[in-house]
Symmetry: C2
């Protein structure tokens, strides 16, 4: 089964486009979890168990685990092992935004798919298609290319005009028409840029878009869902991290957000 098939199945089953970002910043964990042996894993386990029937994917960001060196990496692996064992139908997106040249990517491929066991990864496009080819050659994994990032100042290079078109549109076009030979590509577009999201939806056809930047970063559901939904009324993975995992009641928060998103899937 490909990443896309796995994803679409869970979107339908859970009636959800919501993805929960498993970003357990150690400093922000409750004191009684922080003192346990594997605090990031223990924290994640609670979030996973509480939200797994409300979401379409989990997305751990590797940065929050690498911060702690080998112990963090170990707990990231524990988290994904736990997911695969208990909820094998839920896709795991490893958000690591890697890109190296040619064969050096093989190390990151081993890390993401063999060691962690992810179903999809995020990648940075700057090196170009030839550089990322070892990733693009993997048919069953999802390759989610950073196109328009959600941060302030993302326009510095991403919006530079090339023949009258902003760079992010050229990246979207190249990915949709040239990189996606195996139907394994997706794009990242920040919820904070709904106009750009609508443009990229036009360029990318029904391709699934990963949309971060809601909740703590401030995008509003009506705007980005309407801008990004595809002709099947899906095609979006909408990620929230801090606003759910650090909420008093993560399950309630996830349900609220899922339902809010679904209001505009029309």
């Amino acid at each position: 089964m490909t990443f896309q098939q796995k994803l679409d199945k869970v979107i339908d089953k859970n009636n959800s486009l919501l993805c929960v970002g498993l970003d357990p910043d150690l400093d922000k964990l409750p004191e009684k979890i922080k003192t346990q042996n594997n605090p990031q894993f223990e924290f994640n386990k609670k979030i996973i168990d509480a939200t797994t029937d409300l979401i379409c994917a989990f997305k751990p960001n590797s940065a929050f685990y690498e911060a702690r060196g080998e112990q963090g990496i170990h707990e990231l692996k524990m988290t994904c092992d736990y997911l695969r064992k208990n909820y094998p139908e839920i896709p795991i997106i490893l958000d690591f935004k890697r890109a190296d040249i040619d064969s050096s990517n093989l190390g990151y491929i081993n890390y993401a798919f063999d060691y962690i066991g992810a179903d999809a990864v995020t990648l940075n496009p700057y090196v170009g298609k030839v550089g990322l080819q070892p990733f693009l050659d993997i048919p069953d994994k999802g390759l989610i290319i950073w196109c328009k990032s959600s941060n302030k100042g993302s326009e510095e290079f991403q919006n530079l005009l090339v023949d009258g078109k902003p760079l992010y549109q050229i990246i979207a076009k190249n990915v949709a028409t040239d990189w996606n030979k195996l139907n394994n590509c997706l794009l990242v577009v920040g919820a904070t840029y709904p106009t750009e999201l609508a443009e990229i939806r036009q360029i990318a056809g029904d391709m699934t878009l990963l949309v971060p930047g809601i909740g703590a970063q401030g995008g509003t559901a009506e705007r980005f869902v309407k801008a990004g939904i595809n002709s099947q009324k899906k095609g979006l993975i909408i990620n929230a991290s801090r606003s759910i995992i650090f909420a008093e009641n993560p399950k309630q928060e996830a349900e609220k957000l899922r339902d809010e998103i679904n209001k505009f899937r029309i």
Copy 2:
């Protein structure tokens, strides 16, 4: 002491612009090393001891260690601990080409500087200056921004023309004139593109450039040294990995390459 000061000191002491890439691909290690407890570390130790007085820096590429999960990360740390203990004057460049948005970069900062103990890191520019600000705010570390990568096909986005100028030139200019407020920025330019290297040298003033892509990837010393050297007859970190670490006699190979490079530092 800043990264640049540490680097310049070793360049002078060892009369060398050569950097050795510690990329111990497990599959390529000799059988008798592969069976030891910490094979990547044991392999690196030999390379380090053999070449340390011939080089200006060591550059481990994180991908080759991450490939093995927590054990690889552990051996990368062992390698850097060994370097700091035995050769504290030699700068360590962690080649990990990261970039995330805003505070998510803090995880990578902890990984690179607190856990691994690197003196400098490579970064991907696509997210823009605001996204990378947490890195740029660190005065004593070297931040080496991917500008023109050495791989085939790097022109897909890097050479797109913006107002008549290729994107890599705009990145070089922004880094040199705006990102480099704390004098902690450097640029990556592939030896495989000597014309672009000469252009970037013009834009970046005396800024130090990290130049990969020699040896196994094929750049020749005369062209890239003449194209890249700065007004102080340094300003280059010239990296070779496979051609040295997998040579029959790494010390001899490093010496030959150092001397070949120095022939054109005139």
